[in-house]
């Protein structure tokens, strides 16, 4: 389960921040085990992997990891071929 929690409202943020940062809240996301059944958007409590309890808004039930390897990037695939061609067989 993933929860989301506002730690600082825009008015509470540090001085000397760029405007685009100062105008948005300072937020956290934490994953853990849900203590009771709940729907996305509800206030819930989770137990973290080290056994602490944290309250926040339920963002998603078991959200997947979304980072991957991307697409093969032509500009770099070319580099690999060029270098191997240049060095040749031993």
């Amino acid at each position: 389960m993933e929860i989301r929690k506002v730690l600082l409202e825009p008015s509470e943020r540090a001085e000397h921040l760029p405007e685009e940062t100062k105008n948005v809240p300072f937020e956290a996301r934490v994953r853990g085990f849900l203590m009771r059944d709940a729907n996305v958007g509800e206030e819930v409590e989770i137990e973290t992997p080290i056994g602490r309890f944290i309250k926040g808004t339920l963002v998603a039930e078991n959200p997947p990891f979304t980072h991957g390897f991307g697409r093969p990037v032509r500009e770099l695939v070319e580099v690999s071929r060029e270098l191997r061609r240049e060095i040749g067989p031993s």
Partner: protein, 457 residues
Amino acid sequence: MRKSLAGLDYDRFELGGIAFDYEKLMDSVPYTLDEVFKIQRECKVSGTPLFELNNVNTLVRKHAGKGKGARILLKDEAANASGSFKDRRASLSVYHAKRTGYEGVIAATSGNYGAAVASQAAQRRLRCIVVQEAYDSKGIGQPEILEKGRKCEAYGAEVWQLTVGPELFYWDLALLEETGFFNASLYTPYAIMGIETLGYEIGTEVKATFGREPDYVVVTHAGGGNVTGTARGLEKAGCKNTKIVAVSVDLRGLHMASDTDFNRKSFTTGHTGFGVPFAVNPDRTDVPRNAARPLRYMDRYLLVSQGEVFYATELLAALEGIERGPAGNTSLAAALKLARELSEDNIIVVQETEYTGAGKHPYAQLTFADEMGIEIRRGNPRENVPGKRIVIPRSFVDLSYEEYPLKDLKKKRVENAIQELKVKSLRDYEARFLAEEVKEDVEFVTNALREKGFGID
């Protein structure tokens, strides 16, 4: 900024005014280098392979003038427990936390250091919290950081993924207070001494194999710990003439606290956004005195572009058969040009690699950059514009670096020291301290201050 003490009485290192006793701070670590090695070996850290890059060296010599083309060696730090040199940095802090009775450790980091602390904590059976800057306000995460967060969770850590902003340190300190856990800060003497084993291994291994000191050790530079610890370890291995070359990815122009610039970076560490401020303002961290003081050790500071580091990463896979994460290859990118300029009997050591994986891969980072509207093309790497355009070099000979004027950094460090304390003049012991801080003589400090209208008592 409020500070955490990590179990140390920092007051006893203060000498008055701006000065403190740096060596006394480092000597406060109650473990010898031999003991540090033992502590690290217990938890799958240190003793990493030092490879000669044979195919890369052939290519370097093909494109070097007569008598030129230094030999490049690579210290494969990805072989540490969690896949980077950061395991060395974490190992001693976590061991010390355990020995002194703490229940858990906390680290504030978006980098490999989080995984390292989590991995060491798992092995020492401590609880672990990692605090990361991970998302922009739209909830879009940096792929490289999301992967590091996943890895921390794999080692059983509680991970706080925060939006952009320096308030990360405020939250870190709040969690330290709430839990009473040990602050496994990146900047304590434990963290830095843990890295000394890396420099020590490089020095002793190169001397044993080649009968000479390494001529150059190139170090990816961000917060300054890698430079500091490696250089100190080399000194302990008796390397007196080895030049320390710090290298950062050039991200000048991007604001590090900007919610919109955050995801326009294709590197989240090893870049100028950390490298420059941490060199000129080392004590702006979560501890009162930072044990990472890179200007005490740096002989040169080189900048490379994002495209050049991606090229170097591809080269390592294509020619040497090892895939390693891009950020750790920052120093490799500079070494490829440096080697062509140096004599063929010189030895250059690229002192780290990091693991690669989902999110931490050139394709992942370039795909993300493309989605963020950043132009990617082949060309002259000097046409690279951070946050706007990534230029992959057209050929090996396009790889280059920009020499950052080190004297300017040193002057800035001296100037900042005075301004922080709002004093107008310095006592002579403070001037001597600053001279040591920037590896220059007192005259350099005096001149730098006169240029800015300050005096010396």
